[in-house]
């Protein structure tokens, strides 16, 4: 479209006029903006700066209360206590050193601690409060609070700290918490902001570590107004966090306490399982330690004492300790042979005290031999030759398959630290692990639970529970979460014929109750609580041909750490099994003397729900049992925090 020159002229003139008007208006608006800038940034700047510095809103995290842990009766095992502490925030103080010096006049801080604190404060961002002192007494705490105005950047506050009221009893099962370390943080991809709070407590072992996610809870937030010294002036809003879940264990605090004390000074472990539902009622590893030491920050001396003890108090022997199960493994061999139809319970084997296999002589523990041995007698008197013979008929694959069905060589699904799988060896396993072929002699050794076979006390207890009940019992350690009962895993599909199990149980009954049984001294006298079991003594050293010729050195002449391990597995009552138990006493010499009495006493305590009546013990053992029971310092049920008295704090 062509426009006339006049039209264009008129249009351009108009646009120029309007353009100038618009330009003018824009200049005016910009002048207003500039004037406003000038007023705010030049005239009123001081006032705004005061507002910015003197009246800031800060977000503070509220750490949630960690979930509590109870025993099966609702008795508190892990709780939280109030912890009075003092923090310094670098940003809010002009001179950290002067402030710290001032603070040291009010509360005791050693020179070494003061140096550490200064180092810590300099290393962290200026906005992070660093804990200077904690576990203050009320007096110290109030002294700091009163002197607040002269201590810029210093904040007294109250936090929660983990407390284990049952001291040593649950050190291994529950574990302990400790301050978050840089190493902990380096393992996490996107750490919870809570963990960045200095000295925030994180589960380090046991249930505390395994259930960290649910025990920790979720942080709340507070918006607070702080003045130029960083002191809170008022709270503006508060969003409470979510406390961690409470966990109820299947363990009975009294039985646990008794079991640990009954293990005395030994390096030993015992596990008690309820065969009807798999509940782990006791899971004790001796010696134990006080987890509260770790919460408060363990001293170097204490820590060295724990790590250098040859009885290894820090290790949880119930699930981490692996031992050759010795003769307690003979039920596995027997069941494998019965199931394969390669032996009948009545069939006898001749035991002359040794047997030649593949050109090597395998000895029975009894040099003179047992003569004709059937299955019951083989268990009762723990004849080794009988099992060497059975093993040659069955082969290692069927034996190890049976072991796994009974729980040995399978990792128990438990929320505990470093749970071990154990070993039920096969030809492939040896090839892979050692690069060597399986030998016939290996099968013979495995038959009596020596050689490559390894099991933890937990494995042995599971095995005993499965033999006792004929059911596939899976151990359960957590009974309820926040009051919600957890599922029981006990199913009927163990797949071993009842008659075979009966034959083995008959043998186990004879071990304890017949005249020539290896554990007769540890029987239970009361008819309704009769116990069945199996002893085990496993070598930790090789006996050379020369030594055998000279006569095997007796255990009491060997140094402690060369002596045999003593083992015992048992269940009771015989006709209606309720509890299964396993006991391992490291270097305890003999299963019948060192382990069986402990298993009997623990079972009795479980059956009686406390110390049993005297007539439960065989008459010969009564005096000794009484003396022992009197010497124990058992927990007084009146002294524990009762379920109804428990609080969420």
């Amino acid at each position: 479209m062509r426009r006339s020159p006049k039209d264009t002229e008129e249009s351009t003139r108009r646009i120029t006029r309007r353009g100038l008007m618009l330009g003018g208006a824009q200049v005016a608006v910009m002048a207003v903006l500039a004037a406003r800038m000038r007023k705010m940034q030049l005239e009123d700047a001081d006032q705004y700066r005061l507002l910015a510095e003197g009246n800031s809103v800060k977000i503070r995290l509220i750490p949630p209360a960690r979930g509590l842990i109870f025993d099966r009766n609702g008795v508190l095992l892990a709780g939280n206590e109030q912890n009075y502490r003092v923090t310094i925030t670098r940003e809010d103080t002009d001179d950290v050193e002067a402030t710290l010096a001032e603070l040291r006049r009010l509360i005791p801080i050693t020179d070494a601690d003061a140096a550490d604190i200064l180092h810590d404060i300099r290393r962290r961002p200026p906005t992070t409060p660093v804990t200077v002192a904690d576990r203050l007494t009320w007096d110290e705490f109030s002294r700091v609070a009163v002197n607040g105005p002269s201590l810029p950047g210093v904040n007294p506050d109250v936090g929660l700290s983990r407390l284990y009221p049952r001291d040593d009893d649950f050190a291994h099962v529950i574990g302990y918490v400790g301050p978050v370390s840089d190493f902990d943080l380096s393992k996490m991809e996107d750490p919870d902001p809570l963990l960045l709070i200095p000295k925030f407590q994180l589960g380090k072992s046991g249930i505390e570590a395994k259930e960290e996610a649910v025990l920790r809870g979720e942080a709340g937030q507070r918006r607070v107004e702080v003045n130029s010294a960083g002191r809170e002036m008022r709270e503006l809003s508060r969003e409470p966090g979510k406390p961690g879940e409470n966990i109820q264990l299947t363990i009975d605090y009294r039985l646990q306490n008794y079991a640990l004390q009954r293990l005395e000074e030994e390096s030993a472990a015992t596990v008690v399982i309820d065969v009807t539902n798999g509940d782990v009622l006791a899971c004790a590893s001796a010696p134990s330690f006080d987890p509260n030491l770790f919460v408060r920050g363990i001293s170097v001396a204490d820590y060295r004492r724990l790590t250098q003890d040859d009885h290894r108090p820090l290790a949880d022997k119930t699930v981490q300790g692996l031992y050759p199960p010795g003769s307690t493994y003979k039920m596995v061999t027997a069941l494998a042979a019965l199931e394969a139809g390669l032996v009948t319970p009545e069939e006898t084997v001749w035991c002359p005290g040794y047997v030649e296999i593949a050109g090597r002589r395998f000895h029975c523990w009894k040099r003179a031999g047992h003569g004709h041995v059937n299955m019951t007698k083989s268990l009762e008197q723990s004849c080794d030759v009988y099992y060497y013979e059975l093993s040659q008929r069955v082969g290692i694959d069927k034996m190890s398959d049976m072991a796994r069905r009974l729980g040995v060589g399978v990792k128990p699904d438990l929320p505990m630290s470093a749970v071990k799988e154990g070993v039920a060896p096969t030809k492939e396993w040896k090839q892979e692990r050692y690069g060597k072929d399986w030998l016939i002699g290996d099968t013979a050794n495995a038959a009596i639970g020596q050689g490559y076979v390894l099991a933890s006390p937990m494995h042995l207890a599971i095995m005993a529970a499965r033999i006792a009940s004929g059911k596939k019992v899976e151990p359960r350690l957590i009974r309820a979460r926040d009051g919600v009962e957890q599922p029981v895993h006990v199913s009927d599909d163990l797949g071993i014929e009842k008659s075979y199990l009966d034959s083995v149980r008959k043998g186990m009954t004879a071990v304890v109750n017949s005249a020539r049984g290896t554990a007769r001294g540890s029987r239970i006298e009361m008819k309704e609580w009769l116990m069945a079991g199996k002893t085990g003594t496993s070598q930790v050293r090789n006996i050379t041909k020369a030594e055998r010729a000279r006569g095997v050195i007796r255990n009491d002449q060997l140094p402690w750490n060369r002596r045999d391990h003593a083992l015992f597995v048992a269940f009771a009552p015989i006709d209606n099994p309720r509890y299964a138990v396993s006991v391992v006493v490291e270097h305890g010499s003999g299963g019948s003397t060192a382990a069986a009495p402990i298993a009997r006493d623990v079972l009795l305590f479980a059956l009686a729900g406390g110390l049993p009546p005297d007539d439960a013990y065989p008459s010969s053992a009564r005096a000794k049992a009484k003396e022992l029971n009197d010497s124990l310092d058992l927990v007084d049920p009146e002294s524990v925090q009762k379920p109804q008295a428990r609080s969420r704090a």
Binding site: R14, I15, A45, Y48, S56
Partner: protein, 381 residues
């Protein structure tokens, strides 16, 4: 202006066009964008990757768009303006149905990997169509009611669509940008006076009716007005943003706290610190000197755009340049007025500084139109 212009006899062609661009404008735009990168780096706590780097990439892309648009002659843009407007309108309608929800409003369209905000596109296509309209309309008809009604409809159609998203900031920008072109085109001042009077009367009526039986707004809407008039009345609720923004801005003082030293933005007191409220961080860290310098850079951009608008004899090119300059002006004026507490908070970003892809690209492309007008202006033989 340039020494070349004295010898200029014909419209340049080919690569020579690059010599005839409005170069001061290019430099000023780059300077403002660089200030933006600096601030985005700062509010991210010294992290380039968070916002600054993506923003730089978009700026580079936007510059390419600007040069491309600049090289295309004006007649082409006049011919496609109606088409562009209707495409943008269709996209706005599409947002209503398929749009993604973000920040409480439905603003984005996802097309493959692209994420576009049609309302940003509309700001420019609206100005283009209005410029083309007044180029076509004989000058004497400009103020007749029917011929005023048509552009009003062109402005209001997208405005209502944007209000429905809801995006008050963009709606205000569309009305003001459109009115700016109509004003430049010479529509009688009476129209503008009447509309202004009506708005004032409406505001007065709304405020006066409060508390009476025939109150015109909901209570919560009045509360928002209160908050604007006195942010201190509700320091933790709606007034929080404004209060904190003003504290940050005011505490900057003459020369500011220094780059990366702002306490308010660092402590997360500021909302939207990388988008609508980025000016407060700049003002806090660089003080009055920094804030005023930015205002002057913006003034320079407006000045050179207006120079192009007045220098060309082509009516379309002239009105279009006015429109772009006006839209740009409203962007920063509203944003600054908002964070300085001169206006209620409506979501308008600080142009070329706030983090945001579509706005940056569209603005640079729009300045490409101004450049095209500058290059292809009719010359006397």
């Amino acid at each position: 202006m340039s020494y070349l212009e004295s010898n200029l006899k014909t419209v340049p062609t080919g690569w020579r066009k690059i010599l005839y661009m409005n170069w001061p404008l290019v430099i000023l735009l780059t300077a403002v964008a660089c200030a933006g990168f600096l601030m985005l780096y700062s509010v991210a706590g010294g992290n380039l990757k968070t916002w600054a780097e993506p923003q730089m990439k978009r700026f580079a892309l936007g510059m390419v768009a600007m040069f491309t648009v600049a090289f295309v002659p004006m007649w082409f843009w006049r011919n496609v303006s109606a088409l562009a407007y209707f495409v943008a309108l269709l996209l706005l309608i599409a947002v209503e149905f398929f749009g993604a929800i973000g920040m409480g409003a439905q603003r984005w369209l996802e097309i493959g990997p692209l994420r576009i905000q049609p309302s940003e596109l509309m700001k420019i296509t609206l100005v283009m169509l209005l410029a083309a309209y007044y180029d076509w309309l004989p000058v004497e008809k400009v103020s007749r009611p029917l011929w005023v009604f048509i552009p009003a409809a062109i402005i209001l159609a997208p405005t209502f669509l944007v209000l429905a998203q809801p995006d008050l900031g963009t709606a205000v920008m569309l009305v003001l940008g459109g009115a700016f072109v109509m004003f430049a085109a010479g529509v009688s001042l009476w129209y503008f006076g009447t509309v202004l009077a009506l708005v004032v009367a409406l505001v007065f009526g709304v405020m006066e009716s409060r508390g009476t039986e025939y109150q015109l707004l909901h209570d919560y809407q009045y509360k928002r007005i209160d908050t604007f008039l006195d942010p201190g009345s509700d320091p933790l609720g709606a007034g929080y943003n404004i209060m904190q923004a003003q504290i940050a801005l005011g505490s900057g003082g003459w020369s500011g706290r220094g780059f990366m030293q702002g306490t308010q933005s660092r402590l997360n007191f500021l909302p939207e610190k990388h988008t609508d409220f980025i000016f407060t961080t700049l003002a806090e860290e660089f003080g009055f000197v920094g804030a005023f310098s930015l205002l002057m850079l913006y003034a320079g951009i407006i000045g050179f755009a207006l120079y192009t608008a007045m220098a060309t004899k082509d009516r379309f090119a002239s009105l279009l340049s006015f429109g772009v300059a006006g839209t740009f002006f409203f962007f920063f004026a509203i944003n600054m007025a908002m964070v300085m507490g001169l206006m209620p908070v409506v979501g308008v970003p600080l142009p070329l500084v706030s983090y945001g892809g579509t706005a940056m690209m569209i603005l640079l492309a729009a300045f490409g139109l101004v450049q095209s007008a500058h290059i292809h202006r009719p010359r006397q033989r």
